[in-house]
């Protein structure tokens, strides 16, 4: 394994999370753990119809129930909500309601059971209107209109249009091809299913609003709330210290945050609004489903000459995010065109879930490449090696790209050359298979901010707006600060996730925390080091530029014997404050983290059950800053991919338009028993732009996982599965044909 060339003192070491103690003792206070004096509990009433006008709401019985404090709905709380995008605003309560699960009303009461009882006493008069569940049907001209803009979603241009991208010359690319293949791959709606149900606590102190939000981004949550309630940013405080997972569906502020804000105002008491698990499955969003039609031109040797992708994605009743598909991003394609149609239907919203546009699309493209390799008689390893990406959109170089090394290392580890066999060639009822796929995730630079306060005793406070949704971001920022400052990690206190105290952070989504906030932490450290050296130069009788600070000691670079503890050097200087706002950019280059995944499976042809016997994940994420949590992230991403590959799908009953499995048991997220040991290997070469050479880790691991497993199942069975999830019944059916 390649090692980072520079000798770091804390970066890249195996250091437990700095807040692990709080997390293993039950002391970590999550949003739902907050109890305030006089706090009320709130619950949400949801529509039982996929599309209906609300003709009237009678809340009188609910209001009469002892303990009920307020009922809000579209008539008395018409608050716009635009989380996740500036286009396509909606309200926190809409009329008409547009899917089974659309919020109709919210109740605040003195306890949660009374609030829940009150929901049953609200009488809503609906007039059902025609609905549509299938995205292809929704695109037909006579389909029921879900949005006044039409069922094809509004794109970034604020008008209904497909997402398009192209380069090269598609026609010439297909002419150049020896063979042209066409096929369709289908993926389903999968819920993020984080363990912490949505919960928010809102309170007003005079004109000041505080929201304890279970959000991935306190800054953008504050921006959303301030905008939609017409408040100055200074009057909104959003706090998220410990957060029980989100994977993309807790970013920004959400409708339920707003409901709590309104109820707290109306009742003049703090309000805690809690979702049930069912609310969580249907009331927020999951990963958009997709139907991907590919036309791929290849030469006899397997070189791809052209790719045309036409796809429809189901983003449900409201637009929150793009509905795009970007799975071809890790593959070299000289001539390309894609047309993606994100479509509204009367179903649960499809939006961000870890690497939003990727795993479903890598499943489609990498499965198809694997199939084409089979048809051409090429080993998949050669096919993927040949077609791995080298230049972004066949033009722009990457800041760093060690995808080839990932492939070579992974193939070696899993012994691809010995283990691979002709698909379906193993005799017996339990069939071995091996598969691979390439993935990764964009790595971008952007706006970050940090403040570092060095105390007179030489200890330091790092203030960053980052949340820590399980990635270890808080620890990562502390490690970057310790390395950049030259102060021991255990002397650094991190304060995070509080908009009244901490500076701007982009929010923990899109794998952006390390590349956005990391450079700001380094710059803030440099700022305060200058101040330290200016002061210490006096005591050490030298010039500031002659000084260095390491391990909490200031010393003269040319004569390390002349040194003193930082706490002594600045003892009489008061607090020293370093601050920075940074906004770097890549010059003429694109950024990506890359990954090559390999899996071995055993398919039981009697039961249709698939056992993953080995899983190797090789990643190019630049320098690894925070090694233990980085490995854990990779392992976890793979496990989520396993769920998506084998079991998970939110099923909407076609007759009633109702999601029939909105819970863990029936939506079947992986448990301890389905999760293999995931071997994680980092190919470590520092990236020229990332903080200490680090790129991103959070989202890459889920992107190739689904395709890797599907390709291993193909190798085992000789059957290609084009529709997710690959359940035992599908396998048994395929094997009988």
């Amino acid at each position: 394994m390649a090692q980072a060339p520079k000798e770091f003192s804390v970066v890249g070491k195996r250091i437990p999370r700095i807040d692990a103690y709080e997390r293993v003792t039950g002391q970590a206070q999550y949003t739902g753990d907050i109890q305030l004096a006089g706090m009320l509990y709130a619950r949400v009433l949801r529509s039982p119809h996929p599309h209906a006008k609300i003709l009237g709401i009678d809340t009188s019985k609910a209001e009469k129930l002892a303990g009920v404090k307020a009922v809000i709905h579209h008539l008395n709380a018409q608050i716009p909500w635009a989380s996740g995008g500036r286009t396509h605003r909606r309200f926190i309560f809409n009329n008409p309601v547009r899917f089974v699960g659309d919020a109709v009303a919210a109740v605040a009461a003195i306890d949660r059971n009374i609030a829940e009882e009150a929901l049953g006493l609200i009488e809503v008069k609906y007039e059902k209107i025609p609905h549509v569940l299938d995205p292809n049907a929704a695109l037909k001209p006579d389909a029921p209109k879900i949005s006044t803009d039409g069922n094809l979603s509004v794109g970034t241009g604020n008008f209904s249009a497909p997402i398009e991208d192209s380069w090269g010359n598609l026609e010439a690319g297909f002419k150049e091809a020896d063979r042209i293949f066409e096929d369709t791959y289908i993926t389903k709606h999968v819920n993020n299913a984080q363990l912490e149900r949505r919960v928010t606590v809102a309170k007003w102190d005079s004109g000041k609003l505080t929201v304890f939000a279970s959000t991935q981004g306190v800054s953008n949550a504050r921006t959303d709330i301030a905008r939609d309630f017409s408040l100055p940013l200074s009057k909104v405080r959003v706090i998220s210290k410990y957060m029980g997972g989100g994977f993309g569906n807790k970013n920004q502020a959400q409708d339920y945050d707003y409901m709590a804000v309104v109820l707290a105002r109306v009742c003049n008491q703090p309000v805690k609004l809690e979702f049930t698990r069912e609310d969580d499955y249907i009331g927020m969003h999951g990963r958009w489903s997709s139907e991907q039609h590919y036309k791929i031109g290849v030469k006899k040797d397997g070189t791809v000459t052209a790719v045309q992708l036409d796809a429809v994605t189901n983003i449900g009743a409201y637009r929150k995010q793009s509905g795009n598909l970007s799975g071809t991003d890790f593959y070299q394609i000289p001539n390309f065109k894609k047309v993606i149609r994100p479509v509204h239907t009367n179903t649960v919203v499809g939006a961000n879930y870890r690497a939003p546009a990727y795993p479903q699309a890598v499943f489609g493209y990498a499965s198809f490449l694997d199939q084409i390799a089979f048809e051409l008689g090429i080993n998949p390893l050669d096919m993927f090696t040949r077609n791995r990406i080298e230049k972004y959109k066949n033009k722009t170089p990457f800041t760093s790209n060690y995808l080839e090394e990932c492939v070579v290392e992974g193939a070696k580890r899993i012994a691809w050359k010995d283990k691979w066999h002709a698909p379906g060639a193993v005799a017996g009822s339990k069939k071995h298979g091996i598969g691979m796929a390439l993935g990764g995730y964009p790595y971008r630079p952007g706006l970050g901010a940090a403040t570092i306060r060095v105390n007179p005793d030489g200890s330091a406070h790092l203030l960053v707006g980052v949340t820590d949704i399980g990635t270890g971001a808080k620890s990562t920022m502390a490690i970057i600060a310790a390395e950049a400052l030259g102060i021991p990690l255990n002397q650094i206190q991190v304060t995070n996730g509080d908009t009244d105290v901490t500076p701007y952070s982009v929010g923990e989504s899109g794998s952006r925390t390390t590349p956005f906030t990391g450079p700001a932490v380094i710059a803030a450290a440099e700022d305060v080091r200058k101040q330290i050296f200016a002061i210490a130069a006096g005591s050490l009788k030298t010039k500031p530029e002659e000084l260095e600070l390491r391990n909490g000691e200031v010393f003269v670079k040319s004569d390390a014997k002349q040194r003193m503890p930082l706490g002594r050097a600045i003892a009489r200087s008061g607090d020293l404050i370093g601050r920075a706002t940074t906004n770097p950019s890549f010059k003429g280059a694109e950024g990506k983290s890359f990954a090559a995944h390999f899996a071995e499976v055993e398919v039981d042809t009697w039961t249709g059950h698939v056992n993953i016997t080995r899983y190797v994940a090789v990643h190019d994420s630049g320098t690894i800053i925070n090694r233990i949590p980085a490995e854990s992230q990779i392992k976890g991403g793979v496990v989520q991919g396993i769920g998506m590959a084998f079991t998970e799908e939110l099923i909407t009953d076609s007759l009633t338009a109702t999601p029939i499995n909105p819970n863990y048991r029936d939506a079947k997220v992986p448990t301890h028993l389905e999760s293999p040991e995931v071997e994680v290997i980092f190919i470590e070469h520092p990236d020229p732009y990332g903080p200490f050479g680090g790129k991103v880790v959070g989202e890459p691991p889920i992107t190739p996982a689904v395709a890797t497993i599907a390709n291993a199942i193909f190798n085992a069975t000789g059957k290609r599965f084009k529709v997710l999830p690959i359940t035992p019944d599908k396998i048994l059916q395929a094997l009988q044909v």
């Binding site: 999370r17 692990a20 997390r23 293993v24 003792t25 039950g26 970590a28 999550y30 739902g32 907050i34 109890q35 305030l36 004096a37 006089g38 706090m39 129930l65 002892a66 303990g67 008539l75 008395n76 018409q78 309200f91 008409p96 059971n113 993020n192 363990l195 912490e196 149900r197 309170k203 007003w204 005079s206 004109g207 939609d228 309630f229 017409s230 957060m243 029980g244 997972g245 707290a264 105002r265 109306v266 049930t276 698990r277 949704i469 399980g470 990635t471 270890g472 949590p629 854990s632 392992k635 976890g636 991403g637 496990v639 863990y664 997220v669 448990t671 301890h672 028993l673 999760s675 040991e677």
Partner: protein, 206 residues
């Protein structure tokens, strides 16, 4: 969304203008053993069987508590809301995820699926009661070293199931650990780490 614009009722601006700002206390409630008088008593008609109240003696982490609970209150609710032991999380509230796992008379059980009124005379242990003073339990220590928590929301439950497993089988195999923890979901997918940690705790306590 024309319909919504036409709907009667207050706009956001009216709404904000119309409400005078009152000050709301911000102090964190000290979680007393018995709730004070409810702000409003239930009306007689509204009292269903679930709302009937009972006083129950709970023994949690070696301490005795006398609490008044509604019949419908789960142990998880009472631990969190009345005793302030919020280390026990509620992930699904329907016996699926295991975030609320506590140890009752030596067995790991879902606290969301136990009514508080059933708990009289039982020994309940929660994550808060695992450490002996400043000394963490070996399972907790191993969870720190082996990165057991990612988001940390399932962690208390994973640890309690791991602890209960070690109570009945001090030297489990990896397969036994997986099975012992299989009622505890981790959506971060950190299963490798949680198993590693329990195995490490087992070998350490030898």
């Amino acid at each position: 969304m024309e319909e919504e614009k036409k709907a009667k009722g207050v706009s956001r601006r009216d709404f904000l203008k119309g409400i005078g700002g009152g000050t709301i206390g911000t102090a964190v409630v000290s979680t007393g053993l018995i709730r004070g008088e409810e702000a409003e008593a239930y009306t007689r008609e509204a009292v269903g069987t679930g709302r009937r109240k009972a006083v129950v003696n709970l023994k949690v982490n070696g301490k005795n508590y006398r609490v008044e609970v509604e019949h419908r209150n789960t142990l998880a609710e009472v631990l969190r809301d009345q005793l302030g032991l919020t280390g026990t999380k509620i992930g699904c509230d329907r016996g699926e995820c295991g975030a609320c796992t506590v140890i009752i008379n030596g067995r790991n059980l879902y606290a969301c699926s136990q009514l508080a009124i059933w708990m009289a005379g039982k020994e309940i242990q929660t994550i808060e009661g695992l450490a002996k003073g400043d000394k963490l339990d070996p399972v907790q220590e191993a969870f720190i070293e082996h990165d057991g928590p990612q988001c940390g929301f399932c962690t208390s439950g994973q640890i309690m199931s791991g602890k209960a497993l070690l109570l009945r089988n001090a030297k489990p195999t990896e397969a036994q650990v997986r099975r012992g923890l299989s009622g505890n979901l981790c959506r971060c997918g950190n299963y490798n780490r949680e198993v590693e940690a329990v195995l490490a705790a087992a070998s350490k306590s030898r």
